[in-house]
Amino acid sequence: MPLVHRFADFLHDLQQLEKAAFPSQGPLILDAFTRHSPFDAGAVWLREVRGGGMRLAAKSQSCVAPEILDDDATPDGRVVVPIRTGKDNFGVVALLGDQATDEDLQMLKAAGAYLATVLNNQRLSQEMREGDFQLKYRLWELESLYDIGLSIAGTLNIDALADEILFRMISLINARRAALYLREGDRFRVYRSFGDTRSEFLDDEVTLQIVSAGEAITFGDGSECIFPGCFATVAVPIKGNNAIIGVLAAADRETRDGGIAAFEPNELRLLSLFANQVAIALENARLHKEALAKQAMEREMELAATIQRDILPKGLPKIEGIEVAALSKPAKQVGGDYHAFFEREGTLTTIVADVAGKSMPAALLVSAFHAALHLLFAEGRELGEIATELNRHLHNWSAENKFVTMILITIDPDAETLQFVNAGHNPCYVLTGGRIEQLKSHGLPIGILGSSRYMTQTRPFFAGSAVVLYSDGISEAENAAGEEFENERLETLLAAHANDSPAQIRDAIAAAVDAFVADAPQKDDQTLVIARTRPPVTTAPLT
């Protein structure tokens, strides 16, 4: 075959090396050089990376060749062909066999130069691709940090947020394992982890190191302080507005060769930046959770207030010979004050009660109490029986700590009597002429003890007398200094207004309590019910 054709075939074979991976290049080179020259054996040494040594890449069976070849060494062989461009030495081909012609030697020399160009192109192409990859990777890191800011700041669900944080962190620093710890008192408890952690809480010593450092720190090779069986660990504090609110930890950075390595300074910086974003996101999620809880509480309070408003009397009873006034002033936080009126055969029955607790539970209990009371009254039962049945009902059907204090009275203007049951409630006042009397509690609050029996108390209630029922929101109303209004002030007031109409007495008490409390917030419901029977008709003496 003419030399020119042999040379063209030779170059064509070498050209194919551009697509070959490094480990297969040596045998392909040796094959091309032995097929297109008179030599039938040899060895090839190649330099894998710039500046590295030349390693044996292929050799014929009959050939003895060293594994490593120094740059200035010349291998044994009839012909040695350097694979080099002007400045880069890619390797050497040593050939053994028959004597070659000058033409063959010229061809081999040219082939060596051509091969160097092919390898150089391949290497440049590889470097360009790696550079492109690194550039894109850095861009991805930046984009990720930006995205994390947007994404995790927009994620207000703490569970979803925790997953997002872990996934992003693992990707960013090529970690094999990671964990998010959140503060619980003085300790940090694992909230989410990818891979096992050594324990549920961070070690005190580890916590101290992380908190003291205030930034991303690494733990020594083989440290298993956070993850068991790991090689390298990194941890970074998550700094909230006033304190460290959590810790991010990761272990075992992956390398492309399949190994694991320690985290590098740029990864620590990246992790610190990431932790700043996480801190904002966690604070947002916490504030959101608090706002939701507050909203839920406000909704519950509104509902409770509605329930309570709906069951309180819309107006006053109109009974011949009895004048009535009432006040119901609920506190902002719904309490459990209750009052009601019943009319039966010219008598007035009224009740003032206070249910233990606040908000929805109290409102529900008031509602149940209201229903039971109306049923019992409709059955025509007397006060003691009503109280006894209410007590049994509440004791059986409500929680242990639920009870009701109440005062239930019936005024019979014709018989001039007042019947009452006071179950653990504030004493009520009876005003007769200039005299003030208290009707004190004579039984446990309703619902405390299932076996309690309540007896109706009866006393005279002369024409023109008044009765004042109230809840502890009146007598225990507090001013800014924490002082209570107290019964003494109430009694002084009642003495001063002993002969006034129920509405006047109500207004006087309300004004005095308001003046006493001033700007202090109203802590409890305030309820007043005042009833007075018509005074006896006085006839002028006949003259």
Partner: protein, 118 residues
């Protein structure tokens, strides 16, 4: 959450669908590569990677996926992906995978367009 990646293969007449579950990192990427190269050696020309149960991929995993794509391109075949999380989708776009591999929102549309039906 599992650290280990699992790959399930559904062979189709013209190729295969590979279902991944877990972290595509070095180990996970190599697992996918081994299965993909096996299929390529058996003549598969179209491989669809369904990443529905993969939430994390790191840079090494991505470089391995790029190698798989390049190898398939040498064989004049095609690699495609479907069911990516928004984060992984964006990552693939930034890292250039989307330039050499088709990405589908769901498996049905991918199977239809790639001709991977049974």
């Amino acid at each position: 959450m599992s650290e280990e990646l699992k790959v399930a293969v559904d062979r189709r007449p013209n190729g295969a669908i590979l279902y991944t579950k877990g972290y595509i990192n070095n180990v996970g990427g190599e697992e996918i590569a081994n299965r993909a190269y096996e299929l390529m050696d058996q003549g598969a020309k179209t491989l669809l990677l369904n990443l529905r149960e993969t939430k994390i991929v790191n840079s090494i995993g991505i470089s391995i996926l790029i190698e798989i794509i390049e190898k398939m391109m040498e064989k004049e075949g095609a690699i495609a992906f479907c069911c990516l999380t928004p984060v992984i989708l964006k990552t693939f776009h930034i890292m250039g995978l989307a330039n050499y591999a088709k990405i589908f929102e769901n498996e049905d549309s991918a199977v239809k367009e790639l001709g991977l039906g049974n």
